[in-house]
Amino acid sequence: MFNAVFSQLILVLTLIKIFFNLKGEIMRKSLFMVLSSILLIVGGQAAFSGGHSVTLDDVKARGNLLCGVSTGAPGFATIDDSGKDVGFDVDYCRALAAAIFGDPMAVKFVGLTSAVRFTALAAGEVDILARNTTWTYSRDTDLKQTFLGVNYYDGQGFMVKKDLGVNSTLELDGATVCIQVGTTTELNLADYFKENGMSYEPVPTADNAESQQQYLAGACDTYTTDASALHGTRVNLENPDDHLVLPEIISKEPLGPLVRHGDDNWADIGRWVLNALIIAEEKGITQSNIDSWKDTKDAEIHRLLGTGDDDILAMVGLPKNAMYNAIKAGGNYGEIFENNLGATSGINIERGVNASWTKGGILYSPPFR
C-alpha cells in the first residue's frame, strides 16, 4: 500500500515537473488536453460501459460485498451475543451477497453512524448502504444517491403512559415531549403540532436511549421517534402494558437501501434483489419450500428461480440462479420481516402497510420479466 501511494506520488510529481518545464503556451495546452482526455477516458469507462457494472466487478474481484449498516438500530442491524451481525438490513445484504456469490456469508458489514453514512458510501468505503435510511428528495438528488426501493415503510409515532389517559396524538396539547435533537423527527414534530394548532414543550435528548430514560423518569409525558423503535423499546419496559404507542403516524419515513449515483447496473442488481424477495413472498416461495417449484406453471417463478429456459439475469451480470440463492439465504421478504421485526424477534411489529399488496399493504414489486 505504501509503495502504491509513493509511486503514484512520484508519477504525479514527474508529470507536474514535465508540465512546467515545457516551453510555450501551446505545448502546455496540448499536454493539458492529453491529460484531461486520459482522465475522461478512465472516468468514462465507468459511465458508458452498458450492461456491465464496475462496482459488481470490484465486488467480485474483492470476493465479498461491503455493506454499510447501522452501528445499532433495534431490529435493523446489531450484533448478537455471539458477535454475529443480525437484523433486517443485514439480511437484505446477505441476500444480495448470495445473489452475487451464492454465499450469504460473503459480505462484510461496516457499522456506520448516521453522521458518516453518506460520505462513507460516496467515498467508496461501502458498496451499498442498507442503514434504515429515509428516502427523501434531497438525499436522492443533492447527495447524489440512488435509492433502490423501500424495504420498510416507517413513520414517526408517540409513546405515552396509559395512565395519562390519552388515546390519540390530537389529545397531546400542552404535553412535554422528549425529542432527539438534530433529526428529521424534530422538524416533523414542530410541523405536526403547528398544523393542528397545539402547543408542546420539547425536552431535548441525544438518542433513543436517553429519550427512553427521560420518559421513564417522568421528565416528559410522551416521547417520539420512528414507530419501529417505539415498539422495540416498549416490549422491553418493566411493564409493557402500562405503555401505549399511539395509533397515529405523523410522518412518512420510507426506509430503503441506496447506492452511489453513476453505476446504474449496480443499482439494478440491488433493486431487483429487493424486488425478488418481495415477489417471493407474493408467490409464496419460502426458504423451506423453494426447491419444490420446479413443476409450477407460473413462468415468472421460473424466471425468478432460474429454473426455466431463459436466463434473464445475465443482463445484469448475475448467475442464472442468483435470485434462488438470494431467497434461500434468509427467506422471502415476509420471513426476513418476521425474524427481525415481527413476532419471532420479540419486537412484535405488525406488518401493517408493510404487508404485500395482495394482503392489504402497499408493498408492490414490478413484475420480474
Binding site: 509503495n3 447501522s70 457499522g111 422491553n236 418493566e238 420479540g346
Partner: protein, 426 residues
C-alpha cells in the same frame, strides 16, 4: 516559702494525649469536625452519600448475573441491576469483534505491554530497554496477524540503515550529515525496491504467520487501549520536538511548529477524526485501503502532540535562563544541553501536565464511536440495539466507566510516584 522550693530532677514522661485528640476520634475531630462550617459540610456530604448509596447498593448488590435477556431480569425483579448483559457481552466489551479463538493475542499483547513499559517507567530495569524497542512491532504483528516478516522488515530496514550509518562514519567519511543522508536514502530505496521481495523470500525460508485480523474487527476496550497507548507513546516525543521547535531561533522551524500547534489546538478532535474517517478517502487514490485504525491513531497522536508541546513549553519556560547559559558556557552542544540539563528539569516540572494530557487523550478515544469504530461506548449502543438487551442503560455505562477509571487512576498514581521520586528540592 522558699523551703518548699522543688526542682524536678528527672524528666516527666509525656502523658498520653487526651482521647479526643488521637485515634479515630482525633482524626475525625481534626479532619471532619474542626469547625462548625466543616461539621456542616461533613454532615451534608454524609447525607448525599447516603441518598446515593441507599439506592445504588441494593441495586448493584442484588443484581442478576445469569438471565438470558432483559425481559427475564425485569420479570424476576425489576428494581435491581441486570448485569446479565455483562455476562453475555463482556468478551465483546473487552475485545470487540475479534475472533473468539484468537482472544489470546490481544491478551498477550497487553501483558507484554506491561513488560515493555517497565524498563521505561522504572530506571533499575533499564537494561531490558531492548524489549521496549521490539515491542511495537511485536504488538502490531500479534494484533493484526499476517506474516511476521511484513512487520519484521521494518526493523530489518532500519537496522541496516543504522548499520550503514555507523560503517560510513567509521571507515569512509567523518561527516555526520553525508553519512546520515546516504543511510536515509538507503533506507528509503530499501523499502521501495527490495522490501517486498525480501518479505517473500523470508516467508518461504522461515514461514511464521498468524491468521490476519482486519481493523473492522477491532473494538471494545482493546481498541481504546490500542489507540490510547499508541497515541500516548507517539505524541510524547513529537510533543518535545514541537516544544523545542517553537522556541527555536530558526524562523522556518519555528513557524512550522507554531503553525502546527495553533492549527491543531484550534480544531476540535472530532473534526480531525471526521477528516480521518471520511475526508481522507476522497484524496487517496481509489482502491488504496488506508487502515481506519491507523488513520485514527495518526490523528489522535497529532492532536495530543500539540497539547503536549504546550505543556512541555510551560516546563521549559519555568526554567531560569541561567540554566541555558550555564550549559552553553560548559561547551555543551544544543542537543547535549537539551538532553543533559534542560529536558530533565523541564519534564520534571511538567509531569502533572503531561499526565493530564495522557489521561485526557485516553478518555478522548471514546470519541471514535462517532465515526463508527466499535469502542466500548459505541458497542454499548450496538448492544442496546439487540432486542434481548434493548433498554439496558446504567449497567453498561457503569462497567465501561469502571474500566476507564482503573486505567486513568493507574496513570495518575504513577505520576504521583514519579513526582515523589524526582523531588530533589526541599
Amino acid at each position: 516559702m522558699s523551703k518548699l522550693a522543688f526542682v524536678q530532677k528527672n524528666k516527666i514522661p509525656p502523658s498520653p494525649a487526651p482521647i479526643s485528640e488521637v485515634g479515630v476520634i482525633g482524626w475525625l475531630k481534626q479532619n471532619l469536625f474542626s469547625s462548625w462550617f466543616n461539621t456542616l459540610l461533613t454532615l451534608l456530604s454524609i447525607y448525599f452519600l447516603f441518598i446515593i448509596l441507599k439506592d445504588f447498593i441494593p441495586w448493584a448488590w442484588g443484581g442478576h448475573w445469569d438471565t438470558k435477556s432483559l425481559r427475564e431480569c425485569l420479570d424476576l425483579n425489576p428494581d435491581v441491576a441486570c448485569f446479565s448483559v455483562l455476562t453475555a457481552r463482556w468478551k465483546q466489551l473487552l475485545f470487540g469483534l475479534y475472533p473468539a479463538e484468537e482472544y489470546w493475542r490481544p491478551t498477550v499483547t497487553f501483558i507484554l505491554l506491561i513488560f515493555s513499559i517497565i524498563p521505561i517507567l522504572f530506571p533499575k530495569f533499564f537494561r531490558f530497554f531492548w524489549f521496549s524497542i521490539i515491542y511495537p512491532g511485536l504488538a502490531i504483528w500479534l494484533l493484526w496477524g499476517g506474516s511476521i516478516w511484513s512487520v519484521g522488515i521494518v526493523y530489518i530496514g532500519f537496522f541496516l540503515g543504522v548499520l550503514l550509518f555507523i560503517l560510513l562514519l567509521r571507515n569512509i567519511t567523518k561527516n555526520m550529515v553525508i553519512a546520515g543522508i546516504s543511510s536515509i536514502l538507503f533506507v528509503i530505496l530499501f523499502f521501495i525496491f527490495f522490501s517486498n521481495y525480501l518479505v517473500k523470500i523470508l516467508d518461504i525460508i522461515i514461514p511464521i504467520s498468524l491468521p490476519p485480523v482486519e481493523s473492522l474487527k477491532m473494538g471494545g476496550f482493546t481498541l481504546s487501549l490500542i489507540v490510547g497507548i499508541t497515541g500516548i507513546v507517539a505524541s510524547f516525543p513529537i510533543g518535545i520536538l514541537l516544544a523545542l521547535g517553537r522556541q527555536s531561533n530558526l524562523p522556518i522551524i519555528k513557524m512550522i511548529c507554531v503553525g502546527f500547534i495553533e492549527f491543531i489546538r484550534g480544531v476540535p478532535l472530532i473534526t480531525l477524526l471526521f477528516v480521518a474517517s471520511v475526508l481522507l478517502n476522497y484524496f487517496l487514490p481509489p482502491g488504496t485501503n488506508f487502515d481506519i485504525v491507523l488513520r485514527v491513531i495518526i490523528m489522535v497522536t497529532l492532536f495530543s502532540a500539540a497539547y503536549m508541546a504546550e505543556v512541555i513549553r510551560g516546563g521549559l519556560a519555568g526554567l531560569p535562563l541561567g540554566q541555558h547559559e550555564a550549559s552553553a558556557s560548559l561547551g555543551l552542544t544544543y542537543w547535549q544541553s537539551q538532553r543533559l540539563v534542560i529536558m530533565p528539569q523541564a519534564l520534571k516540572i511538567s509531569i502533572p501536565g503531561i499526565v493530564n494530557t495522557f489521561i485526557g487523550l485516553f478518555k478522548d478515544t471514546t470519541l471514535v464511536s462517532i465515526i463508527s469504530l466499535r469502542d466500548p461506548v459505541g458497542l454499548a449502543s450496538t448492544i442496546r440495539a439487540d432486542q434481548t438487551w434493548n433498554g439496558i442503560y446504567w449497567e453498561l455505562y457503569v462497567a465501561i466507566g469502571l474500566m476507564f477509571f482503573v486505567v486513568c487512576f493507574g496513570m495518575s498514581q504513577y505520576s504521583q510516584y514519579l513526582e515523589r521520586k524526582l523531588k530533589t528540592d526541599k
